[in-house]
């Protein structure tokens, strides 16, 4: 360790710590902190009572439940199925693998409105899938969940994939020769190594879903108290030129998202430590 550190100090082509940190702080301030602090400043124009009314009306509370609930659920589903997709893409050879691999990125590239309209069409009562389902998807909270699952998939697959690729087969073989069953090998050897990446993918998918507007708005039906997402209520406030009210809700979303992401990061750090550093 000590050896590599001195080596780095002497030969590094990257700028030194002071310069790099200064640049990092400046960059983060300009790109992230400044716009966000503008949101906070705007809410300071409100009285505490007005702020509380804006962020805690029954309609807004219902939208928090839907947004956080559907995002969490979507990210969980992606964590399970994204892992399977990544596994198949890394471990098996099959025709058109490259094409299918590229398909995973589509939710990234597709304009969200296009995704929303397409999903709504497929899952509506007269749609390709919707007409065979015994329950309604489009224009219900289930539709919100479907859209948020769609946009979150690439995050899990693309974070897990490189870790899986680096995972040497020898580990599994060693585990097998030591008498472990397949399930044991997965649970005690593979899964702990994948865990940090899986958590990162989950966190990214979750965070992306929280802020999603474009695709959800078409499929949700936007019924008050039932299928209104929080970003819609922010737009609604802006529509009334109520900038302070809009930013008040945004601030609540920001703080809640930040707290959740911080918690997930802590969990990830903990799982990495437990695994003995990687």
């Amino acid at each position: 360790m000590i050896f590599t550190r001195t080596l780095l100090r002497r030969h590094s082509v990257l700028p030194g710590f002071d310069l790099a940190l200064g640049f990092t702080l400046l960059y983060l301030s300009l790109i992230v902190l400044l716009p966000l602090s503008a949101a906070f400043l705007k809410t300071f124009t409100m009285t505490w009572g007005a702020f509380w009314d804006a962020v805690s009306s029954p309609r807004v509370l219902a939208s928090y439940r839907l947004t956080f609930g559907a995002s969490l659920f979507g990210a969980l589903v992606n964590a399970v199925f994204g892992l399977i997709v990544a596994w198949v893409l890394v471990r098996y050879e099959f025709p058109f693998k490259r094409v299918i691999d590229a398909l995973v990125d589509l939710p990234f590239a597709l304009p969200t409105a296009v995704a929303g309209i397409a999903l709504t069409a497929i899952y509506s009562g007269n749609g390709l899938i919707g007409q065979h389902l015994p329950f309604k998807v489009s224009f219900t909270p289930v539709g919100v969940f479907v859209a948020l699952t769609f946009i979150g998939l690439p995050f899990v697959v693309r974070t897990v994939q490189p870790v899986l690729e680096d995972l040497s087969k020898e580990l599994e073989e060693a585990s097998a020769t030591l008498g472990a069953s397949r399930a044991q090998t997965f649970r005690h050897v593979i899964f702990p190594i994948l865990m940090p990446a899986l958590l990162t993918g989950f966190a990214l998918a979750f965070a992306r879903a929280l802020g999603e507007y474009g695709s959800v708005i078409f499929i949700a039906g936007n019924m008050p108290m039932v299928s209104e997402i929080t970003p819609l209520l922010i737009i609604t406030k802006l529509e009334q030129y109520d900038y302070a009210g809009a930013t008040a809700i945004a601030v609540v979303m920001l703080v809640a998202s930040f707290a959740l992401l911080l918690a997930i990061n802590a969990l990830q750090a903990w799982s990495r430590r437990r695994q003995g550093g990687l």
Partner: protein
């Protein structure tokens, strides 16, 4: 995005001046034709080549962009309060902007009509029918859509015109909105829900949208004209602060004034916007059935008051929605 578009449009290589018209979403086709006509007219009278740029989007979003610095020479909207914003928030125009041009500064209008499925199976004739049990109607969200707000005011105002009291008018509007299965964000999204997803027995939209819907989705629809409906005025204004700084006041004012010319009115009529000129209206009479109308100013004390009384958080619309059992 509007800002980015304007940024791209700014370094124009044309010899003459340029104008940016910031407008609402569904006026795109009309202004495309009108711009070509006005540019030709301008070249004929001044010899200058005028570059006309357009920016379209949700109306209040567009108005916010102008307040936040989008360099619009003229603003053309479908609701007066979106232009009022420029006077109130940005001091970009005087508060009496609507008096600077004839007809409340609105060269064209449209009316809210009810679109039903072929043969009108639910026998929908007027706003009251939309509040009947068993009828399902698609209306865009009044919280996010001017089209939705006009629908709400149309039903309410028509009830007042029939002579019922405001409580009964509110009750009717509440029954209508209880029949709405999906609240889309804007007019075009609501059209898709009605025409493509086949949801709802009726769709409420502007008369100017009906030919477009028939062209896109076939002739399986009929427009129903209620006895009374709201007159949606499409106001326009020069953005004083911008034209004075850019030195474009002259072409900008001429651009708006030309909207009232025979040529401008005819182009509007071709795009199914009701012209103000009686002569042009008479020439296109078959496209614009006679209907009794009221304005938002007349029955609701102007857009500002209507917005505060009905659509702001905690106002009548929110109360209606909260009381609706689903």
């Amino acid at each position: 995005m509007a800002l980015a578009l304007a940024g791209l449009a700014a370094p124009s290589f044309a010899a003459g001046p340029s104008l940016l018209n910031v407008s609402y979403d569904v006026s795109r086709e009309f202004y495309k034709d009108y711009n070509a006509a006005f540019a030709a007219q301008w070249r004929k009278t001044t010899g200058e080549t005028l570059t006309l740029n357009q920016s379209h989007g949700g109306s209040s979003k567009q108005a916010r962009s102008v307040v936040d610095g989008l360099e619009a020479d003229v603003i053309t909207m479908n609701q007066a309060n979106d232009i009022d914003l420029l006077a109130e928030r940005g001091q970009l125009i005087p508060t009496d902007w609507a008096k600077r041009l004839p007809d409340n500064a609105s060269p064209t209008t449209s009316v809210s009509v009810i679109l039903v499925r072929k043969g009108n199976p639910k026998n929908i004739r007027d706003w009251t029918d939309l509040g009947r049990a068993g009828v399902s109607v698609i209306i865009p969200n009044p919280k996010t859509s001017g089209n939705g707000r006009y629908t709400y005011l149309a039903a309410w105002g028509a009830a007042l015109k029939r002579g019922v009291n405001p409580q009964a008018a509110e009750a009717l509007v509440a029954r209508i909105f209880a029949n709405v299965p999906v609240l889309d964000g804007g007019g075009r999204a609501a059209t898709t829900t009605f025409a493509q997803r086949q949801l709802g027995d009726a769709l409420v939209t502007f008369e100017s949208e009906v030919p477009l819907i028939k062209r896109e989705f076939g002739e399986d629809y009929e427009a129903v004209y209620p006895a009374w409906t709201v007159l949606a005025e499409n106001p326009v204004s020069v953005v004083d602060k911008v034209v004075d700084r850019r030195g474009t006041r002259k072409p900008a004012e001429a651009y708006l004034k030309h909207l009232w010319s025979d040529e401008g009115q005819q182009i509007a009529a071709k795009h199914h916007l009701r012209p103000r000129s009686p002569k042009v209206l008479a020439a296109y009479a078959k496209d614009f059935p006679k209907v009794q109308t009221f304005t938002v100013d007349e029955l609701f004390g102007g857009w500002k008051k209507a917005q505060a009384d009905h659509f702001n958080d905690g106002a009548t619309y929110d109360r209606i929605v909260a009381a609706t059992k689903r």
